[in-house]
Symmetry: D2
Subunit: 137 residues, 4 copies
């Protein structure tokens, strides 16, 4: 299992007139979480794109338990529960507020694809090698 | 079953550097679809809020089949497959491009809640009465 | 002078916790207004990009007079006051609500640039020809 | 003069298909900059709203010099050049990339207003007292 944490401060643009964060913005929090999760492995999603591989989102499932509010400093806890075998990777996200209350849970499935031609491909070696230590056989 | 259709033109702000609509924006398309779906019943979600009832999103599940692109005129087909029994309502959305290709499928679950105190409540009568004809016993 | 009008329905995602449209979203309304303004000339901004020319925004000035609110059907009135001479084009936008109250005024300056190499260029001929009739000498 | 700096990492949602940050998102960067600028005085914009005072944006002027790109770590330098006298406050923002290139300049004018009734008011005392030391007579 590979888990990282990132913090995000909620700014005004993310709120709606219910006085809470608009539900549609959580996909961005998951994105920020997994980007930082990759960065902490020692390379970046930008590096992956520079290799000609992109990772489009294929599926998202979000559960909204409690609302995040303006100026909250939320923590996005991002977890890979399994080492990807082929072209598919699933990031699990949990979002907490400063009281450590669980606000939101999201599962985001992405594919590895060769940008030129949009064919599915395996996870890049650099990615697999960095992750392997977190998933002992 | 109650089904309506709404069209949305994709503007630049919705695209990302993959050259397609950013995945996080589809939640807004579902929102626009269900808002227009309610409007076609003869009242509005704004009217519901004016009655002191809000409809927070509790759960979203999105599948991304094909990307929407800049300047596409997409059609959001919004369906209620069941008449809500209590505080829960599920809108099913299908998003098509101008070639009638299915791009995206989303299921959004919302609760009816009394804004003052945030307690769950039943679907407002005005809403139920308008819908009932679409769900013959 | 060349003027067109477009309508936009305000959805929830555009509101903030002040109960009005977040100020940062008006740039999108200007964008939608000028895109439709170009479309009504008989071609599209997408066509311009397909010709290898892009139109980055160089300057925006916005004045906020009254707030737009949830579910408002706003009208974006987009005007070219002068026929562009070289690489610069200025769109003037006025945004009105359904009571015909002026909510917002924006001036957006864009450049015509050759995407490949990012050099400034003149307005494409197709664009100039369509506009010329609106600017008699 | 009172100046602070904040850093923002550009995530994918902020890019558009030109491969740069969508121009309409800079208003959010100014917002984040001035919010952190207030926080560094020892209170928050949230505290101001809790006092019944809101600060709507009245005017924005943005100049776009160079684009911010995906994964850039931009620095928002936020400056108050004058101590506000009455109900008006102007934040000047400069945005730099990691090479210290100036990308964008923005001037945002806001009013202090009593939320209940929407009348203009003077800057709250707590705010003025914290700022005064930065503006010697």
């Amino acid at each position: 299992m590979y888990t990282t944490e990132t913090q995000i401060r909620i700014h005004y643009a993310l709120t709606d007139q219910m006085g809470v964060v608009y539900h549609g913005h959580y996909a961005q929090f998951y994105e920020i979480g997994r980007t930082e999760s990759i960065r902490q492995l020692g390379f970046t999603y930008k590096d992956i794109e520079a290799m000609g591989i992109i990772m489009p989102v294929i599926d998202i499932h979000s559960k909204f338990l409690r609302p995040a509010k303006y100026d909250d400093l939320i923590t996005v806890k991002t977890t890979l529960r399994e080492l990807p075998q082929h072209h598919r990777i699933i990031f699990h996200s949990e979002i907490y507020n400063e009281k450590d209350e669980l606000l939101n849970v999201g599962d985001v499935t992405l594919y590895f694809m060769i940008a030129n031609g949009m064919k599915r491909c395996d996870m890049p070696d650099v990615f697999r090698e960095k992750l392997q230590g977190y998933f002992p056989v």
